[in-house]
Amino acid sequence: MTLALYRIDDRLIHGQVVVGWGQPLDVSFIVLVDDEVSSSDWEQDLYRMGVPPQIEVIFASVETAAELLPAWDADSRVGILLVGDIDTAVALAARVPQVKRFNVGGVHHRTGRKERLRFVYLTDDEATKLRQLAASGVDVTAQDVPTARAVPVAEFT
């Protein structure tokens, strides 16, 4: 199989990812791409605690992810790739042409952001970056759980 889901979610590993998407996709591994988490053993332990032992968790910086993504995508198992913010998604897509889709799964309220969907708050700059990402050929949709509708980028940016 492949990386079945590329997701932007500021909570990174949490219930919606592990159970909501993990169960129906029958996920065997999760790749968490985050420069800060990938350099902290303590943070990695925290995120690992939320994952059943049969699911492998791989932590990577953007640089390492850019190098290893083709191998993860060619893995015979099903995986999910997670990033915590739009800048990381944009950086990864710019470096790895085979990133062809991103699911916006949760970007929450912060000063300067406006509500676009119940689970998506964006600054104008972030909205522009998502539209540019889509214009570069990446399919960008917002969808918190698999049973919800995938909202096209034009409807929430």
Partner: protein, 126 residues
């Protein structure tokens, strides 16, 4: 020793419902605060924790041993500056025990909560 605060951290409205249940059973008010991760990113959840915990000491009772409630609570306990312990798998039994035993340290209260909570989980003989 100042009396401990308990802060319940949960998905949806589980935390608030547990606070209401403890008050209904014991009549004790103000010992527990419930906060939800509803609509929260990590920063906003940290802010809710900061407001609920205050200067501490405190015990954070988290619903699951993983996920956004848990990671935010563990991170807050580590960096928040106050004396804080984190217990996962919150249930009503551990909270009922906690509200009557708050003149101990957060780590002692956390151990007590694990005992009281685990004792309440049983299979009833048919």
């Amino acid at each position: 020793m100042s009396e401990l605060r308990g802060v319940i951290v949960s998905h949806a409205a589980v935390a608030q419902a547990l606070v209401a249940a403890v008050t209904a059973i014991t009549g004790i008010e103000g010992a527990l605060t419930g906060i939800s991760n509803e609509g929260c990113g990590t920063e906003e959840l940290a802010e809710r924790l900061r407001e609920a915990v205050g200067a501490g000491p405190a015990v954070l009772f988290v619903d699951l041993p993983g996920g956004s409630c848990f990671t935010s609570s563990a991170r807050y306990a580590k960096r928040g500056g106050a004396d804080i312990a984190v217990v996962t798998g919150v249930n009503l039994a551990m909270l009922l025990d906690f509200v009557f035993n708050r003149d101990i340290s957060p780590s002692e209260a956390a151990r007590r909560a694990v005992d009281a909570g685990a004792k309440a989980i049983r299979v009833t003989p048919a």
